[in-house]
Point group: D2
Amino acid sequence: MTDFQGIINSIHDHLSKEEVKGVVASYIPELSKQSVNSLGIFLQHLNGDSFAAGDADIPFSIQSISKVLALSKAIAFEDNRIWQRVDVEPSGNPFNHLSLLELENGIPRNPLINSGALVVADILVTHLKNPKEDFLNYVRTIANDQTINYNKDVAASEKRTGYKNFAAANLLKSFSNLKNNVEDVLDFYFHQCSIDMTCAQLAKAFYLFANGGKCVNNVQQIPVSQAKRINAIMLTCGFYDEAGEFAFRVGLPGKSGVGGGIVAFLPNNFIISTWAPGLNPKGNSLLGMQALEQFTTQTKLSIF
Amino acid sequence: MTDFQGIINSIHDHLSKEEVKGVVASYIPELSKQSVNSLGIFLQHLNGDSFAAGDADIPFSIQSISKVLALSKAIAFEDNRIWQRVDVEPSGNPFNHLSLLELENGIPRNPLINSGALVVADILVTHLKNPKEDFLNYVRTIANDQTINYNKDVAASEKRTGYKNFAAANLLKSFSNLKNNVEDVLDFYFHQCSIDMTCAQLAKAFYLFANGGKCVNNVQQIPVSQAKRINAIMLTCGFYDEAGEFAFRVGLPGKSGVGGGIVAFLPNNFIISTWAPGLNPKGNSLLGMQALEQFTTQTKLSIF
Amino acid sequence: MTDFQGIINSIHDHLSKEEVKGVVASYIPELSKQSVNSLGIFLQHLNGDSFAAGDADIPFSIQSISKVLALSKAIAFEDNRIWQRVDVEPSGNPFNHLSLLELENGIPRNPLINSGALVVADILVTHLKNPKEDFLNYVRTIANDQTINYNKDVAASEKRTGYKNFAAANLLKSFSNLKNNVEDVLDFYFHQCSIDMTCAQLAKAFYLFANGGKCVNNVQQIPVSQAKRINAIMLTCGFYDEAGEFAFRVGLPGKSGVGGGIVAFLPNNFIISTWAPGLNPKGNSLLGMQALEQFTTQTKLSIF
Amino acid sequence: MTDFQGIINSIHDHLSKEEVKGVVASYIPELSKQSVNSLGIFLQHLNGDSFAAGDADIPFSIQSISKVLALSKAIAFEDNRIWQRVDVEPSGNPFNHLSLLELENGIPRNPLINSGALVVADILVTHLKNPKEDFLNYVRTIANDQTINYNKDVAASEKRTGYKNFAAANLLKSFSNLKNNVEDVLDFYFHQCSIDMTCAQLAKAFYLFANGGKCVNNVQQIPVSQAKRINAIMLTCGFYDEAGEFAFRVGLPGKSGVGGGIVAFLPNNFIISTWAPGLNPKGNSLLGMQALEQFTTQTKLSIF
């Protein structure tokens, strides 16, 4: 039997000594306060076992990781109708995200790039009675943890400086692919991204994707077929312009955020989450990606 | 001596009978109320003579034509420092204007595309004490006409629906190439574009560009060298993605607007303006371009 | 136990009656001779069982599917050094493949787009003593079938009309990312793509990717880690601009070709191949994609 | 009366002392042999006067300047039918020339970028009985100089290394916008570009464009309307991605080449040519552009 605890301990110890740790995100001022030395790893097995190393219980800003949670809720409302407003293809090109949106008539390439996540947020603003409260409750439910919360400072910080998101939302609106007010959608979106979680909470929140749509307290949140589809989207689109690299090196579906978090999983097996705030030039956690690569290399556990 | 009156009368009569008149702009709701049958032509010679045909005294929304007037005022404030924030190259590519802005780090290709005009507007908001009042006064002064005014309905209409401009302004802001608030710059910009003028007023307002920087009442508004430079920019960038076509067919520097107006001129000779609200697929007045092509063909007057 | 034979029979019968069958590729004149009514399915299980339906024993042009076989051989020579000359990211943008190559200094996005496959071909031309003979022998070996052959007519047909490939090869050469003569690389490449295989042969040739690098006659052709990496590339890049869609709908790594073939597999389980010459607008076999979607839906077998 | 000789002498002397002289083109190996210290200026007035300074009688490779001469000959054959195969808009975007060609279905943006010049070359190969001989004779005729010749070494050098032109020609061929063999068109094109001329010869060859289509020995080579159109294209497209800058700073139609030559003119007045092999980062002669800017600043002679 695999010695998960031993493996993640050893990876944690090894990577803690790395000198090159990447650069903490500064474009959201609040995020720049994080320490580049934080490193947490958490593994939640579907058999109930769990394993922690390092800063696995310190909350951090999940940022783009929230896009997957929002997507799962939007699909619960819209089922396959959602794909009329957002595609499922990798975005490929780091140079011209807004231009692709222009070229493709306001249909974002996938729900995990910012423009696509804004369409998803718009759907939730349409369907949820009290969007911010209701979404937070959904996240608390699937993670089975009532202590999860928004970080108001981070949300406010992003609202003050998130001009690229304002640009994307207005461009979507110009193509009539945003039904609600730009301000309402962005207010919801900045809150969604500002959720704080620990590695442990994050692994539990993603339990449903590894478990055919059933969350950690065994409620079927989305059909198994939709869980598989979201997993496919994570694999092809979950790591900005580095999705291919992550599939290639790690071989698991997952999602990263600029707060330094990554969560990945082997369907029907386990969820593993990491947190290390230093990012590589493509915006993914430098040590997090290394930790996951070492983990799948040592355990030989991957979808491939 | 050239029979200007005879020539513009004949062009007016001929084009009035054209069945294909283009499509009136509808993206700004207020503009869609214009009649496709309007057609005005006005010629102001620098020797003082002037010639009118058709609807030359009916006011229309000058829209993008205002960008040249704003540019001349911004240059009066900033001289060549302005070129640190906006380039002077044709934009070339209709498919990805916002993307070019991303690729080129927030420096718009030229001051006559929307993103460039927003930078110019930002400069005026910085320098003018009461931006809207002061700019209107400038326009009234150079055109020597105190009756020129903003059209508040058009400005409000564009503010409600101008999502692409909101997108561009926020993208500029994300590159720190907008110093004032997005809302303030856009409020000014939508007013600037909403100015109503007749063909006759428009020809007078552009007198300074044909006359080495001296406006119609003989005041040197900008140095002769700057007037020449603005003229060069009009020639290479004044007609959206059809600047080459206009230079090729008409051979005069000029500027068009989606309200259906065009103004063009032969330096040291004359200014000619046309108004016909039906646009061609590239957004320029269909009959206006034909009128000007016929005019330079018949008179053999062009810069080439 | 899953009734594979029953399932593929039922899918075959059902899809044979579809009226919309896609369009047979015509840009390579020889391929246009194929019948849109052909439909073959073959499943090779790693336990040795195999199942066939329809035209599973009729040879067809494997075209781009050959890129994976060439990649596996190039990796055998160059190991990870190959990634200095080609990246592993999805290409994303159907509009400007050559432009991405220009923007990214001649480094193709991945080895399964044409430009990347040309770099792989260049590597084989460098390393193989008699490139065409040696590569054919490699394919025969891994498929354990000495009857597999090039289709000289198809190779010649593509050589006469493959101007886009000539363009891509010359562009690569301009960036010094092609070491051999353009003509030599293209001659090899057109032959590589012209290989004829049946569904049955194709499934056997891809056995090694589903089997940790060991081919059907149990020889370790590439290390297990490299097999996993190639599988990841197939998943993220194997279906032109529809890789996300295939992962989303089918959930298996695989590769398609404009000859109408698709091969996909569940690691450590089975390989399934289909052939139906009618293509959808994105260049993938229309019925083939439907067959595979129905197969994974009915069997619930996917990597997600 | 303007002291042309004094002005060009003074500009020559001043610029000769500049320390920053740009970088001699090296992508065509033969061109890299030129001295960065060469500097020639020649002015041919339409009244017959001419003025020379510095290396005005040393031959250099005219390269892209030849595109204008080829265009004038192609228009003589095809008149306005040529515009069905090539557009007249500035290319704008330095990042993706080949991509624009893909996006726009193989219609080059204008006849002065490489892809457009290849279409022009294709037209000449179609119409001329002995393309290379006949084109050379045309150039000799319009310049009234039988000593002008191809530089076989330069042509051969470009043929060996001109992979980007091979790429462009094949891409055009894939869109059926090249009627002759790629090799034949490129052979002609590389010869066309390899013509050697002195500043004096170049000014005379462009006499027809400044003189309403009549060449230096008074033969009407093209109609006056076509001469004006070619002049407009030179102004909007003659300086790669710096056409706007040249119009802005110099204010004359003209054309540059990577051999370091520039020719520009004021219609009905004069032609001025410069040669200085050091290029700026955008591929135009650094000292040549400065010389022309100083010339139009001092003489106040420009089309604006």
